[in-house]
């Protein structure tokens, strides 16, 4: 117990969710991990750092409540508190939206650090949704963070970009980096047509924190603007496990083979070399 407690105190609380490549699930991961932490009773602030192409508000279902945004805070048009949208469904969950009509140069890494320092005192966790790419938007997003979740899918292009991002994070002094493998399809892995989670971990060589199966419910959840973490769907369970691991708990990985049909099982035997 003693040991666990000291681990918890050490755990960093400003986490950037990044990937390099676009469309691999950064925003979905930020929304789900953030919502999951709030469900555990933590006070969580999500910051969308993708200036010009904001999305986190839509995934969270909070797009109609935006008054002020990150750029307004940085430029002094409003107080930090005024830009925070409280998610009424989950006590303790807040979103700072990004600006839609500005570009990345509206905010500097130094300004981001200032905003985060201000928020740090009030929240248990601050999650930063990083834009795709490695330019200023990326630099802004990582400036105030001390821990990173690197999201990738089991595809050559996404893994290549993730490797680049990991190199850049290392160069920026990040010590705690964890890998989330998104959209894994066990049926394809079994056929030998998709890299397994182990293959990806072997290549990228940073500690794994989550495997999210390819799941239609993610699309449904995004349609509805309600993160699916904690639901009975495979992705909902997988995200709930990620949340516990972020909290420092050890959770066994899910077995995604459960849902497969009898026929797949039978043919699966022959496909295994």
């Amino acid at each position: 117990m003693e040991k666990e407690h000291s681990m918890e105190q050490k755990s960093s609380k400003v986490i950037v969710v990044t990937s390099g490549k676009g469309g691999v699930g950064k925003t979905t991961t930020t929304a789900n991990v953030g919502t999951g932490l709030a469900k555990l009773g933590k006070k969580v602030c999500l910051i969308d750092t993708d200036i010009g192409l904001r999305n986190l508000d839509v995934v969270m279902g909070l797009e109609n409540r935006i008054v002020y945004n990150l750029v307004d805070v940085v430029e002094g048009n409003c107080r930090v508190k005024q830009a925070l949208i409280r998610d009424k469904r989950h006590p303790g969950l807040y979103l700072m939206p990004s600006a839609q009509t500005r570009d990345k140069s509206a905010v500097s890494p130094g300004q981001m650090v200032k905003v985060i320092e201000h928020l740090k005192e009030q929240f248990d966790y601050i999650l930063l949704d990083c834009p795709a790419g490695i330019e200023q938007g990326f630099q802004n997003a990582i400036a105030g963070a001390d821990r990173a979740l690197v999201v990738t899918t089991p595809e050559v292009s996404a893994i290549r970009d993730a490797d680049r991002i990991i190199g850049l994070l290392e160069a920026n002094g990040f010590k705690q980096m964890n890998l989330i493998i998104n959209r894994l399809r066990m049926d394809m892995v079994r056929r030998g047509d998709m890299m397994s989670a182990q293959d990806v971990v072997d290549i990228l060589a940073i500690p794994l924190i989550g495997i999210i199966p390819d799941d239609e419910s993610v699309v449904v959840a995004t349609n509805q603007g309600e993160p699916l973490v904690g639901s009975s769907s495979p992705a909902g369970q997988a995200y709930a496990n990620v949340v516990h691991r972020v909290e420092g708990k050890e959770v066994p990985y899910l077995n995604f083979d459960k849902g497969i049909s009898f026929w797949t099982r039978v043919t699966g035997i022959f496909h295994r070399a």
């Binding site: 030998g192 290549i203 060589a205 295994r272 070399a273």
Partner: protein, 92 residues
Amino acid sequence: MRHFFRRKSSCQIAKDRLKILLISDRVNCSPEVMELIKTDIAKVLSKYMKIDSENMDIQINTKGNKSGRGGKMPSLYANIPIVDVTAKDLAK
């Protein structure tokens, strides 16, 4: 059993491609630079022995060297055929 019916799996192809791709990404070494390194090595070695510079092969890979992230520190391997070791006697 699969091996009788199918060729290399696309998963294996992806892994093989990534292995090569990431090595060149990580060392940030373009093919042009590799060519320059190759000619320079050939030039230096030619002072001491006769080498087959046409068939020499140099590459950067991750074999054996266990440092850096996950033991993936790249290292330079060179395979240089020697035509005649005694061809150039330095004493002369």
